[in-house]
Amino acid sequence: MSPATVKTSYREALREAIREAMQADPRVFLMGEDVGRYGGSYAVSKGLLEEFGPDRIRDTPLSESAFVGAGIGAAMGGMRPIVEIMTVNFSLLALDQIMNNAATVHHMSGGQVDVPLVIRMATGAGRQLAAQHSHSLEGWYAHIPGLRIVTPATVEDARGMLPTALACPDPVLMFENALLYNLEGELRAGAGAVDIDRAAVRRGGDALTLITYGGSLGKSLTAADLLARDGIDAEVIDLRSLRPLDDATIMQSVRRTRRALVVDEGWRSGSLSAEVSARIMEQAFYDLDAPVARVCGAEVPVPYARHLEEAALPQSEGIAAAARDLVAERV
């Protein structure tokens, strides 16, 4: 008998995860811009102010550096803060705190100081918000030792990554692709914590491996459907954690399919896709039947006009086309 499931949105799953964590542990609190009275700019925290009060659902001033730094300090002081940065675009204002404090203090204190902090932020393009509001920087953040980077792409992960991240003594950055908030899915009743360091095979296949994460997972699965119509059976890997990367799952798949295409919404040069490609080069070169290919964000500040924005981002058709080229390639 399969367990009962409930239909839930990604947004609701996140809210439920926050609520449960706050109920279970008085050290957990949420702070960020407009998380309280406004209800969260993506409505994730809607209703939580009423439930938990303004001490634990803290609206902050527009002071990204200070409230992220305060999250670090509060974590050092024994709390389990969830800091919401409204979107990744504004996180640049807090990058000094993130890289120079959150990521380093455990090491530079010789292991004395822990920073059990979770920073959540919306990420990604696709809503015509133009050049200053469309960054996809989660792969870029994955460069920084001392941080963990997770990218829930399913309702289950939206529900389950937060408790694990909160239990982790290290700073975890959780990137929520803004196009996913309305995603609906069936959640196992009683679904809870999931791991935050393993990749997941979201679709099995033999012809090639699509490696992706976050907002591009759905597009990649759609691409796999398109490919299936042509008789091409693509495996789809959701990285889930961008730091650490789960090399084992990637290599296991690529050694079998012998072809890999990395799909990454970030600007191509220096995106996470490059790291994935380089690792396959290093660990599975002799198993490849064709060079690893990439479908990435175009190297342009994301333009406003709809057709241009669409052209600037990975799309299912483009992914499928690249996959077909890859499968057609012969050594």
């Binding site: 811009e33 406004y38 527009l62 200053q132 241009l308 052209a311």
Partner: protein, 328 residues
């Protein structure tokens, strides 16, 4: 804040101010319509209720002065004299738009008007304004850079750094804080320990004042005075007390304020009060208002028509204008 309700005003000038405010109001009302029709997309932040700020302020600026604004800048762009058609085309994402369709509502630019955006990072325009003013200072030009921002930006570090820099280097920046009491859903007293924004200027030894941002004449006078101080050689902080009648953006359910609060502010609106004042002084007849509305309606129709006739940029040109000089 000084009450200057009785200050004299020339009829022609008064009608210009009124027309400018009505133009913004009707333009934005049209924008909401077009947004509902999905002709405009992305974020759309309306200035409705705050028109006296931009209109009053622009009176004090000459064509050589510069303007730096935020994502809530339709009013500033219009008041600065940028063609409504080019603005509308921008929001349609057309090549004929003032930013070639690359920017959209949040990134209106026009270097001919020295209009430097359309900046959508809260606080991000302040350092840039300081730099524009620095360029003027270094080149010995007697210009003002007017920098608009919301009271929410006051909490950002860039506010602090920029005011200090401007004061230290005597940069001709006119800091214009449009205090509409809310930053999205965050009321001023939840973001500032000191809620008198202008009082913060003392920490930098910058002269400052607050003015009723609902009174276009008061704004004009205050900005003229402030601009004179700036031209004489140094920054000034003017707080414009106003209110946003509409939601923060098209996605805002407005849970954070009551309908009655909004209605009370609407009664103090810049257009309704100015109209009443002009009528009371016999400077405005029904026919004047009708003429203005008709003229504005025609302008907006033309703007929409211009935008609709616009051409989308070819997708093949996606990568243009990333660099001014082509890269290898």
């Amino acid at each position: 804040m000084s009450a200057i309700a009785e200050a004299p005003v020339e009829r022609a000038h008064a009608l210009d101010l009124l027309r400018a405010m009505i133009r913004i109001r009707r333009f934005e009302e049209k924008c909401t319509e077009l947004y509902s029709a999905s002709r405009i997309r992305g974020f759309l932040h309306l200035y409705i209720g705050e028109e006296a700020c931009a209109v009053g302020a622009m009176q004090a600026l000459g064509p050589d002065d510069a303007v730096v604004a935020t994502y809530r800048e339709h009013g500033h762009a219009l008041a600065r004299g940028i063609d409504p058609g080019r603005l509308m085309a921008e929001m349609f994402g057309m090549r004929e738009g003032c930013s070639r369709g690359r920017g959209g509502s949040m990134h209106l630019f026009d270097t001919a008007a020295r209009f430097y955006g359309g900046n959508a990072i809260v606080g991000g325009g302040l350092p840039v304004a300081a730099g524009l003013a620095l360029a003027d200072r270094l080149q010995g030009r007697q210009r003002v850079t007017a920098c608009f921002f919301g009271e929410g930006a006051v909490a950002e570090g860039e506010f602090h750094e920029s005011l200090n820099l401007a004061a230290l280097w005597k940069l001709p920046v006119l800091f214009l804080c449009e205090n509409n009491l809310y930053a999205m859903g965050t009321r001023l007293d939840l973001s500032q320990s000191q809620t008198d924004v202008y009082a913060k200027a003392a920490g930098y030894r910058i002269p400052a004042a607050a003015v009723d941002g609902m009174d276009v004449l008061a704004v004009e006078r205050a900005v003229r005075e402030a601009a004179e101080v700036v031209r004489a050689g140094g920054p000034y902080l003017l707080e414009l007390r106003t209110y946003r009648f509409r939601a923060h953006s098209m996605f805002d359910p407005e849970l954070y304020r009551s309908k009655s609060e909004v209605i009370a502010w609407m009664a103090k609106g810049p257009i309704v009060t100015f109209t009443a004042r002009l009528r009371a002084r016999g400077l405005l007849e029904d026919a004047d208002l009708e003429a203005i509305e008709a003229e504005v309606a025609r302008e907006i129709d033309e703007a929409v028509a211009f935008a609709e006739a616009g051409t989308p940029e070819p997708v093949a040109d996606l990568l243009r204008d990333v660099y001014a000089e082509s890269v290898a």
